[in-house]
């Protein structure tokens, strides 16, 4: 099925005129990768992020079908609010997942395709080795251990603000070396 060229407002309006499988598919295609990204950031787990996608889309579809989304321009805000509540539920290990999946499982669509960046690992090694010592340490410590600015500030004997500056500069140099636009 081809993507519909509509903005969010027009897409929401299409739900107001009765069942529209094409609009539902477009909503899934558009929002699933975005919700998944939110899930990765806030849940730090791919499976949990997939659960989030399913649950948030079910709630959103339900709201659109029943006309509960009164302001069509607020689709992203509605989805964000639903994401937040669902993340809280998922963190609490709520049993709602199974109930919702049982109730609406037939409406679920396969995982939406999304952009997957490919990296040349040899090149990345080379680019990392070409960073200044402090930059390399900050980048690796940040991304390996997700150490806080305070941890790194202690290690480097600089302020947290300085750590942030070093990380930004290092990231810029890395992306430049890897041939990615800053």
């Amino acid at each position: 099925m081809e993507a519909i060229q509509l903005d969010d407002v027009d897409l929401v309006h299409r739900f107001g005129s009765g069942p529209d499988r094409e609009a539902e598919a477009e909503l899934f295609r558009r929002m699933a990768p975005r919700i998944r990204l939110y899930g990765l950031r806030h849940l730090r787990n791919e499976h949990a992020a997939e659960d989030l996608v399913q649950q948030v889309l079910i709630v959103t579809l339900e709201a659109l079908r029943s006309g509960r989304l009164r302001e069509p321009g607020k689709l992203a805000s509605f989805v964000l609010g639903t994401c937040r509540l669902t993340v809280l539920d998922l963190r609490r290990g709520a049993q709602r997942t199974q109930r919702l999946l049982g109730q609406f499982g037939k409406d679920l669509l396969p995982q939406a395709p999304c952009y997957t960046p490919q990296l040349d690992h040899e090149k990345l090694t080379h680019c990392l080795q070409n960073l200044k010592e402090r930059e390399r340490t900050v980048i690796v410590m940040s991304f390996y251990d997700e150490q806080t600015g305070a941890d790194l500030a202690g290690l480097l004997g600089v302020s947290e603000a300085n750590v942030r500056v070093i990380r930004h500069r290092a990231l810029h140099r890395l992306r430049e070396c890897m041939g990615v636009a800053a």
Partner: protein
């Protein structure tokens, strides 16, 4: 796919690392639910973060690390082999196939040192590589150097001398400590020195 207010990669990295102020994080959350262009940029940052993480866990980067890093590596099930020669001292060392990370813990008095370089020298003391201005904190008493385990596993029996140097007010170099590592290869492979058997 256009975006009138693109979020740069550095901010997205801060977002991924959860170090943005809450109000800014909420703005990024909302923006990413409306904008695929910035979403794709975040995916690039995440891919980079994951690749750096993988490289770090392979132990193949020459770099200065922290105790927190080593604790995390051990907690992740990585095997950390560590040697800690005293300043001016030497240590016999090796690396096995099971090792994941190789560490030299270099004790030194870093009090007052503003800039410290780590010099990697051959057995004659001739510098082969210099890591300038390594991250140090003047309150600590050692530098934790990670040698590339890929390099160490492939290296033959060899002697490596590490030197920590600092600089005085005139810019002249001052030795903080010298550490000798007598590496004995314990893995079979092309890097092993050839030893002819007697007839």
């Amino acid at each position: 796919m256009s975006c009138s207010t693109p979020i740069d990669a550095a901010t997205l990295a801060d977002y991924w690392l959860a170090v943005l102020p809450q109000s800014e994080e909420e703005m990024v959350d909302l923006h990413l639910l409306e904008c695929d262009r910035c979403g794709n940029r975040l995916r690039e940052v995440i891919a980079l973060a994951q690749a750096v993480r993988r490289l770090a866990s392979e132990g193949s980067l020459r770099m200065i690390v922290s105790d927190a890093f080593l604790h995390r590596a051990a907690a992740d099930g990585l095997r950390v082999r560590q040697y800690a020669p005293a300043p001016g001292g030497a240590v016999h060392c090796t690396v096995t196939a099971e090792d994941d990370i190789l560490i030299g813990r270099l004790a030194a008095d870093l009090t007052g040192a503003k800039r410290v370089d780590l010099c990697i020298c051959d057995e004659h003391g001739i510098q082969q590589l210099r890591l300038p201005d390594i991250p140090i904190h003047s309150g600590t008493s050692s530098v934790i150097y990670q040698e590339s385990i890929t390099f160490a596993k492939a290296a033959p029996d060899t002697i490596m001398i590490l030197r920590l140097v600092t600089f005085d007010e005139t810019g002249a170099e001052r030795l903080l400590g010298e550490y000798t590592f007598n590496h004995a290869r314990s893995l079979p492979g092309p890097g092993q020195l050839y030893e002819p058997h007697p007839e």
